[in-house]
Symmetry: C3
Amino acid sequence: MPSAISVITLLTDFGDRDYFVASMKGVILGINPQARIVDLSHAITPHQVEEAAYLIKASYQYFPDGTVHMAVVDPGVGSARRPLLVTTSRHFFLAPDNGLLSYIFQEETGIEVRQIENKQYRLDSEGATFDGRDLFAPAAAWLTKGQSPGSYGKLIRDYVKLPLAEPEWQGSALAGHIIYVDRFGNLISNLTPFHVKDVQGRTRRSDVSIRIGGVTIDGLLRNYSQGSADAPHALINSNGQVEVFIKEGSAAETLNISRGERITLA
Amino acid sequence: MPSAISVITLLTDFGDRDYFVASMKGVILGINPQARIVDLSHAITPHQVEEAAYLIKASYQYFPDGTVHMAVVDPGVGSARRPLLVTTSRHFFLAPDNGLLSYIFQEETGIEVRQIENKQYRLDSEGATFDGRDLFAPAAAWLTKGQSPGSYGKLIRDYVKLPLAEPEWQGSALAGHIIYVDRFGNLISNLTPFHVKDVQGRTRRSDVSIRIGGVTIDGLLRNYSQGSADAPHALINSNGQVEVFIKEGSAAETLNISRGERITLA
Amino acid sequence: MPSAISVITLLTDFGDRDYFVASMKGVILGINPQARIVDLSHAITPHQVEEAAYLIKASYQYFPDGTVHMAVVDPGVGSARRPLLVTTSRHFFLAPDNGLLSYIFQEETGIEVRQIENKQYRLDSEGATFDGRDLFAPAAAWLTKGQSPGSYGKLIRDYVKLPLAEPEWQGSALAGHIIYVDRFGNLISNLTPFHVKDVQGRTRRSDVSIRIGGVTIDGLLRNYSQGSADAPHALINSNGQVEVFIKEGSAAETLNISRGERITLA
């Protein structure tokens, strides 16, 4: 894998008002001044590993080959939970072993998962509370300097995976759930065009109806413009997932729905 | 126009907590790893094109020659509204054809406006809901790689311009309005030193008085320090516009004023 | 001091929704397109110099040699307060003369403090309200282009220092205070491992107890994982300071405590 480009993405629940994120960037630039650092997000709800897992899934594939994705949402910082280095055919991922990379494990093939053990890639510091700065940032930066994944630690197989529930048939309807609510209040589900076709095959109708929060939505639109402000609509979004929205409004607020809510396709 | 520098600015209403902005940056860096990406703002009130138009006006001229300004506040994404590439003597601008670039059209001369049609600069994707990532980001990145504006699409003349109301005389007073409220609650108007001189000429007084929200402010100060915390004051701000402020307080909150409010100079 | 790396950090109370930060970045990149700009934070509570002073203290040392730290929390912008350039053995600092760099003055030795007077490093602009863009940004950028500190202005000695209260003995207890509350609601004090040892020496006990907001906490933990969600705990944090936290909760909210609160060690 070429690493001339040296992009490092950062995903945390650290927020953007404290010194946390900048300290990590300082450490990275001290090791590799050429690294291109991109903030994925620092606004993950504190300790919400599932939310972070989805953000990585939704964006990692748009980054160039050799990108190092570093994700630190880590309620167990300083405890025995292991820090991981994951290698795929195109990218690197560094994260605590708490399920944060579950979608990567699900979507990518031929991955290698290592426990980061090499103390040479660690920063000396007084406390054990900031692995983002002291462990993950230098480990990420050294990767972009060409250190081999093998030098980080041994391969492991028993890493943590979140239970990523697949949609299930309930009669002739397929029941999924909302896996992410974005800033516009759009409701993103784990239903895909594949599931839509499946339902169409079973119902022998060319269209589908979506049921969520007591509301029924008929058919899928092509884009937000086709929707209206007075009722929820649905479409296949740009990541290939069924999404419920209200035009220039918030479906989450109007329907009073949050992550985890059931959504069915019939 | 030289493009060795390759600065790309991003202005959206996408917020900073989701995967939207990072996905666009990934696409840009995949095409041009040398691009310097600067966030102009991602905190535009959702769908508020006027707010975004002002932010571009207030900042674009401070960027180096060859900078590519990409602005995506786009309630009509996926609909028939056209994506634009605008070329001025110093900069490039990419935005949907919804008036977002109105101040550029007003302030710059010798501009060329093109409809982006060339599919080669587009990313393939499943949905039609994320032109920021799939259309504008690659189009911006290819510009910094030296692709000519002419290769993007045909020149057009019927692009959308917002109605940018000019201050109007009402007797011997000049009436403008508030065009932006900043994070400090400062009220920025469309009145300029030019208008102040005009009023001084007509009133034959060396000073002016400002009226807004039922309050009268006498004279213009030089800087915030000269103001006081117990009353609103006014000055010519660093962008050359009459601004109403309360020292270390919020004029917007105290006077209960938002964008669009009338302000008169007499 | 080598300046090949050209990292510039930005710390302001400008927020991230307006045009302020982007304008400064545009000015910097216009002077030095190679500068690596890192946002330290723009979410300082407006005009809170003490808060900004702590953020610099907590992060500056993690940046590479030659880094230029630019901090603009500046209630007195445009007034007679002086703009400063401070040189240490490793870094540069630019800030208004209002105490923002107090911790640097306290922690670093052999510093040189200059008043920025050279008009050549200033941008021409219409108002006197945006020194971040017109004075500090170009001054910072020219430093990374190799301009010597001596060319900025004369050395001064009467710069402003905030009163940084040291912990004080009250009987056999050492009383400090909370100097920062982070996004998680963790309470960071000005008590350090040095103070802990001091108290242990005086009490002849191997452990310590912490008292804050009417609550007593027994002993120091090693990391957040050892804490619990139902009571506050304390540890030495990654910056070497005694910190009070509630596991996966907010100590600030639960104890209803903010910056300035007393904390004692016994």
